[in-house]
C-alpha cells in the first residue's frame, strides 16, 4: 500500500477518502461511465483501481474480450463503470469495435473516459478524435505517464486539454497516481459542472465537408437534440449498414438501455 501514500503526496487536496469501491452488484446508478481506449493502454488497470475489482490485467493487446462492469461511489453519487474492449478505431465492423461504438452511441453513457497511452499519444489520438465525434461528454486519461517519462516523453496535458476541449488527466494507474484528479474530472463532467466543447474534425476535403453539412442539417431536423449528427452523417455516407438501419428505425430516440441488456452478441 506504499503506492497509495505516494499518490497522496502528489496531490494536495486529496479526495481519495471519498472514493468507495462498489465492485459488482445490484445498485441504482446515478451515472454511467464508459471506459474506452486503444488495446493495452491500461484500461483494465484503471477499471480495477476505481472499482476495487481484480479483473486480471495482462500485458498484451486484446485481453478484454467481454465487457466488464463494476461500480464506485464518489461524493455521494453512485457510478456504474463499463470497461469496453480496446480498439484502435470505431470505424470498422469488427465485433469488438461494434461493442464499443454501439455502447457510446446508443447507451449514451454520462461520461466516456478515454484511456490513452502517453508513450504512443499520436496513434491513440486517432481513437480520441473519433470518440469526440460521437459524444461531447468525455474525459481523456493519458495513462502510463511514468513509462513515458522513462522513455523521455513528456505530454503537456494542459495544452492538450485546451486543444481537445475536454478534461485531460495524466495518470500512472498502476501506481495509482492521478486517479483522484481523474475521479474529480469524471464527477465534474457527469454532474454538468464542467461542459465540454470537444474538438471536431475540421480538415476534411471541401467536397466531403459539404456533403456532411447537407446531411447533418436533415438529420438534426429528424432527430432534434442528437449530439452526434455529424458522426451519423459520416457513417451513412460510408454506407454503414448498422447506422442506416438505426436511421430508418429512429433508434436515436430511445432512452438509454439498461447496460446489462446491451451485452454484446
Amino acid at each position: 500500500m506504499s503506492s497509495r501514500s505516494c499518490a497522496s503526496t502528489s496531490c494536495s487536496a486529496c479526495p481519495s477518502g471519498q472514493l468507495t469501491k462498489l465492485g459488482e452488484g445490484e445498485q441504482v446508478w446515478d451515472y454511467v461511465v464508459a471506459l474506452a481506449g486503444n488495446p493495452n493502454t491500461g484500461k483494465s488497470t484503471v477499471f480495477n483501481a476505481l472499482t476495487g475489482l481484480r479483473q486480471h490485467t495482462g500485458n498484451w493487446p486484446g485481453k478484454t474480450v467481454v465487457r466488464a462492469e463494476g461500480g464506485f461511489a464518489y461524493e455521494g453519487k453512485q457510478y456504474q463503470i463499463v470497461d469496453l474492449p480496446g480498439t484502435y478505431s470505431l470505424l470498422s465492423a469488427s465485433p469488438d469495435e461494434e461493442v464499443a461504438r454501439d455502447f457510446i452511441l446508443f447507451d449514451r453513457p454520462d461520461v466516456t473516459v478515454i484511456v490513452a497511452d502517453a508513450t504512443r499519444l499520436e496513434r491513440n489520438l486517432n481513437l480520441v478524435l473519433q470518440v469526440l465525434e460521437i459524444t461531447d461528454r468525455a474525459v481523456l486519461c493519458v495513462n502510463l505517464v511514468d513509462e513515458a517519462r522513462r522513455h523521455g516523453i513528456v505530454v503537456d496535458t494542459q495544452k492538450l486539454e485546451e486543444r481537445l476541449g475536454i478534461p485531460v488527466i495524466g495518470t500512472a494507474a498502476r501506481q495509482r497516481q492521478g486517479l483522484d484528479q481523474l475521479l474529480q474530472a469524471i464527477s465534474d463532467v457527469a454532474s454538468g459542472r464542467r461542459v465540454c466543447h470537444p474538438y471536431h474534425l475540421q480538415n476534411e476535403p471541401p467536397a466531403l465537408k459539404e456533403a456532411i453539412r447537407t446531411l447533418v442539417e436533415k438529420i438534426e431536423t429528424l432527430f432534434p437534440g442528437l449530439p452526434n449528427a455529424r458522426w451519423v452523417a459520416l457513417r451513412i455516407l460510408e454506407g454503414d449498414k448498422r447506422m442506416i438501419a438505426a436511421v430508418q428505425l429512429g433508434e436515436f430516440h430511445q432512452v438509454r438501455k439498461q447496460p446489462t441488456e446491451a451485452a454484446h452478441e
Binding site: 498484451w60 467481454v66 499520436e122 513509462e147 513528456v154 492538450l160 429528424l222 451513412i236 442506416i244
Partner: protein, 479 residues
C-alpha cells in the same frame, strides 16, 4: 411516424447519391484527415527528451524475436519455468501430504470413532471425500503456486506478444490466425479460458480452428499428471537427482511441444478440409516492456489463478472422492463395482498400452482433469491389494514419490504405460467445463462434438500406435 419514415428514406437516398458523387474514397479520405489532425495535435503537446529506454526495448525485441535467438530463448525460458516448478514443488508437496494425509487424516478417523460415526459414513466422508481433496491440494497447490506466478511475470513483462510474433508465420502457414498463439497461451492456464479468449479472432473460420485446437494446450489440471509421471518414470531412471529433474522437465517440455505440433497439424488439416480458407491479415502491437511489480503479481496470480484453480479442483474432488469410495466398497457378486468396471475396461486399456484403471480414472475425471492421478492411485491400491499402504478399500494414503513408483509398478505399470499416459494426458477429450464453454461460444452441436471427440480419437489412435511399435521393438514382451 409516416413523416419520419419518409424523412429517413429521404436522408438515406441523399446520402447514397452523395456517396456516389464523392466516389469510393470516403473512408480513406476520412481516415487520412483523422491521422493528419491527430498528428498535428500530438506534435503540439508531446516533447521528447531522450531515447535511452527505446534503445533498450529495441534490443530486447531483437533478442526475443530474431530468427537466430527468438526460438531458442523461448524454449530456454519455458524449460526454466518447468524446471523451477518441478524442483520447487517437491518439498512443499511432501510436507503438505505429511500434514493433510499423515497427521490430519488419522485424527479425523479417531474423531469419527470417538463419536461412533457409522463406518460407511466415515468411509464416504473421511476416506473418500476428505482424502481425495487432501490429495488434490498436496499434489496441485505447490506446482501451481510456482508455475502461475512465473507465467504471470512473463506475461506482465510483455513477453507473450513476442511469442505470438514468433509463432505468427507458422500459424499463417497452416491457414490459422496469428492471434491463435495468444489463445493457445491462455489454454496453458485453462482451456475454458483459452476458448473464451478466441473471441479476439474476428474470422469465424479461424476462430473455430483456434477453439478446436485449444485442447492441445496442456491445461493446469493436466500439469500435475505430467509433472508426477515424468518425475517417477522418466526422471527416475537417472540416478542423480539434479540430472533427474532436468530429464523430467525435458520430458514435460517435450509433451508440451508435441501439443504445439498437434495444434499446427490439426489447424492445417482443418483449414484444408472442413474449414477451408485463407489466413486473414491483422496487426499485432508489441507492447512496451514493463517491469512487473513482483509482489503485486505474486498476489494477484495467487488469488486469480492458483486459488481459483485449486478451488475448482476441490469442488470436483469432493464428489469424486465419494464416488470412488462407493465404487470400491459396494460389492456385486463378491467383487466391488470398481473391480468389475476395471476388468471390463482392462483388455482395451492394455491393447492401447494403458490399463483399465487409467481408463476408469479418465471417465471419473471428466468433470476435472485435476483428479486423474488421485483416482489412479486409489484404484490401483484397490485392485492390487497392495499391503502396507493405506488402510482399507478406497482409502488414500501418504505416499512419497518412491512409494508411488513402487505402487504403480505393483499395479503392472511399465515405461510404456507411463509414456502412453503422458500422451493420453495431452490427447483426450476436454473436461466438461471446456466442452460446455465450446458450446456456449459456438452454439453449434457439430463443432462442439468435433472439438470434444477429435482429441480423444487422436489420443486412442496415438496410444495404440505407440503400444504396437513399442511391443514390436521390445520383442514381443507384454507389458
Amino acid at each position: 411516424m409516416n413523416n419520419r419514415d419518409s424523412n429517413a428514406e429521404d436522408i438515406l437516398a441523399q446520402a447514397a447519391s452523395l456517396r456516389w458523387e464523392l466516389g469510393e474514397k470516403v473512408h480513406e479520405t476520412l481516415m487520412e484527415s483523422i491521422f493528419e489532425e491527430a498528428a498535428g495535435i500530438a506534435n503540439d503537446v508531446v516533447s521528447h527528451t531522450g531515447q535511452k529506454a527505446k534503445v533498450w526495448d529495441r534490443s530486447l525485441d531483437w533478442l526475443f524475436t530474431s530468427r537466430l535467438t527468438g526460438f531458442p530463448i523461448m524454449f530456454a525460458l519455458l524449460a526454466g519455468v518447468l524446471w523451477l516448478t518441478i524442483t520447487g514443488a517437491n518439498v512443499p508437496s511432501s510436507w503438505l501430504a505429511w500434514v493433510l494425509l499423515d497427521t490430519v487424516h488419522p485424527l479425523l478417523k479417531q474423531g469419527a470413532a470417538f463419536i461412533h460415526m457409522p463406518w460407511w459414513l466415515a468411509g464416504v466422508l473421511i476416506d473418500g471425500m476428505y482424502m481425495a481433496t487432501a490429495w488434490v491440494v498436496s499434489v496441485m497447490l505447490p506446482p501451481m503456486a510456482i508455475f502461475f506466478p512465473l507465467f504471470t511475470l512473463c506475461e506482465d513483462f510483455g513477453y507473450l506478444p513476442r511469442v505470438a510474433f514468433n509463432m505468427d508465420a507458422l500459424f499463417k502457414k497452416v491457414g490459422a490466425h496469428g492471434k491463435q498463439a495468444l489463445t493457445m497461451s491462455m489454454g496453458y492456464g485453462c482451456n475454458a479460458a483459452g476458448i473464451v479468449a478466441c473471441r479476439i479472432i474476428d474470422s469465424p473460420r479461424e476462430r473455430l480452428i483456434a477453439i478446436i485446437t485449444n485442447n492441445f494446450a496442456v491445461c493446469n489440471g493436466r500439469w500435475p499428471t505430467l509433472f508426477l509421471i515424468s518425475s517417477i518414470f522418466i526422471g527416475g531412471m537417472v540416478s542423480s537427482p539434479l540430472l533427474g529433474s532436468l530429464v523430467s522437465s525435458g520430458t514435460v517440455l517435450a509433451v508440451m511441444m508435441l501439443g504445439v505440433l498437434f495444434t499446427f497439424g490439426v489447424s492445417w488439416l482443418l483449414s484444408n478440409t472442413m474449414l477451408r480458407g485463407e489466413a486473414s491479415i491483422y496487426s499485432l502491437e508489441l507492447p512496451p516492456y514493463r517491469p512487473p511489480r513482483f509482489w503485486r503479481t505474486m498476489y494477484t496470480s495467487l488469488i486469480d489463478r492458483t486459488i481459483y484453480v485449486l478451488w475448482r479442483a476441490i469442488v470436483f474432488a469432493l464428489p469424486a472422492g465419494a464416488v470412488i469410495w462407493l465404487l470400491s466398497n459396494v460389492t456385486m457378486g463378491g467383487e466391488t463395482l470398481a473391480v468389475h468396471i476395471i476388468h471390463w475396461l482392462n483388455p482395451f486399456g492394455v491393447l492401447i498400452g494403458l490399463n483399465g484403471v487409467i481408463l476408469l480414472a479418465y471417465i471419473i475425471a471428466i468433470p476435472a482433469n485435476e483428479i486423474v492421478i488421485p483416482t489412479v492411485l486409489m484404484l490401483t491400491v484397490l485392485t492390487t491389494g497392495t499391503a502396507g499402504v493405506g488402510a482399507g478399500n478406497g482409502v488414500m494414503f501418504e505416499l512419497s514419490e518412491g512409494d508411488t513408483a513402487a505402487l504403480l509398478h505393483a499395479g503392472g505399470w511399465t515405461l510404456l504405460t507411463a509414456v502412453n499416459l503422458l500422451l493420453f494426458c495431452l490427447l483426450h477429450n476436454p473436461c466438461s467445463t471446456t466442452v460446455f464453454t465450446i458450446w456456449k461460444e459456438t452454439r453449434n452441436l457439430k463443432w462442439t462434438t468435433v472439438a470434444a471427440l477429435l482429441p480423444l480419437v487422436m489420443g486412442l489412435l496415438t496410444c495404440f500406435f505407440v503400444a504396437q511399435v513399442w511391443r514390436l521393438v521390445a520383442g514381443g514382451v507384454t507389458p
